[in-house]
Symmetry: C2
Subunit: 204 residues, 2 copies
């Protein structure tokens, strides 16, 4: 519809990004065309650099541009507890809370039969290996595993699966708490969250 091959190609590629529809992609493409500076070159270079420089940390599968990621490399973190997350971006949320000073393990997704994602598509085998290496004395002994997965069906399914797999390994296994978010009005909390908040009430 734009009748210019290169412009149509750019709109097509941009609209493959999540949350970018054809209309937004077209607006972005026209913006890129209109910039009289080196922006297209800079963005293009940034895209290729990300692909060339960043890989998964061989221990925890977070993204990194060095041998190990900064959380695996940091000598000041506790070696005996692992926080399991779905995506590398989740680590930042946990880090900025300042409430966890152990190691991480990124699953790169959650079990979702609807999308055809089973346990073998995730870094679950590698998590179990990390724990087993500690038991065998080939690595740090893991005493606690905290599951910080999304509070949805896929997250719950993955938690159930992991709980079964990690049974009998002498671990303290927990999931992060569900409840009323800090600063929120009780009136606006949905039924399931309120149910959980009551169920997991904390004694004073």
């Amino acid at each position: 519809m734009l009748h210019i091959g290169a412009l149509e190609k750019l709109v097509h590629e941009l609209s493959r990004l999540p949350g970018i529809g054809p209309k937004t992609a077209q607006r972005l493409a026209y913006f890129i065309l209109k910039t009289n500076n080196d922006y297209p070159e800079h963005l293009s270079e940034a895209l290729l650099r990300v692909k060339a420089e960043i890989h998964e940390c061989p221990r925890c599968f977070n993204y990194t541009d060095s041998d190990l990621c900064r959380y695996c490399e940091d000598a000041h973190r506790a070696d005996d507890s692992i926080c399991v997350v779905e995506e590398p971006a989740d680590i930042m949320r946990i880090e900025s809370s300042g409430a966890f000073r152990g190691r991480y393990h990124v699953l790169h997704g959650a079990i979702s039969p609807l999308e055809g994602i089973g346990p073998q598509e995730l870094k679950i085998k590698e998590l179990i290996e990390r724990i087993d290496e500690g038991i065998k004395g080939n690595g740090p002994v893991i005493k606690e595993v905290i599951l910080a997965l999304d509070a949805d069906l896929e997250g719950d399914t993955t938690i159930l699966y992991l709980a079964k797999q990690l049974q009998g390994k002498g671990l303290k296994l927990s999931r992060i708490a569900h409840g009323v978010p800090i600063g929120s009005d009780i009136d606006f909390i949905d039924d399931r969250t309120m149910g959980r908040a009551l169920q997991n009430r904390v004694e004073l």
Copy 2:
């Protein structure tokens, strides 16, 4: 905050796009990292192709990848009327209505003293030249100029300026109508639009 140079660079470049904040840029960057295919290469190539292949039509300043744009080249369009628009993307809206079969002229913006955009930053001199060439007999004679500019302060200012500049050139000069959009509920129309709709009422 991401602690990975290449990733931070990509987030920075993406967040320069209109409507893409730092949070969205981060989500897009992680999506690009997660794709295991050639997407970064494809998008990068598309960006460079757009820059290399597309330029402004020397006659109407629409974007094109050939010598003249497709609307200037088309032998079946009326040579004596020009529709003036702010941006190349506006041409598509007019074309898809099917109500205009003349030529176009893209100003590449509108007069905006607040943003420091004066008449000399726009393709106004070139529009007047196109009309003058017709008067001199060096090009097609222009009989009608339709101003299809945005219905905002900048558009209005530009229309006033153009009307003054094009005075005495024997042209039929008009602007597109403002009024109630087709299919809309009278109840939801703002005061200024309703004022215009009443003022410009059409006799039956």
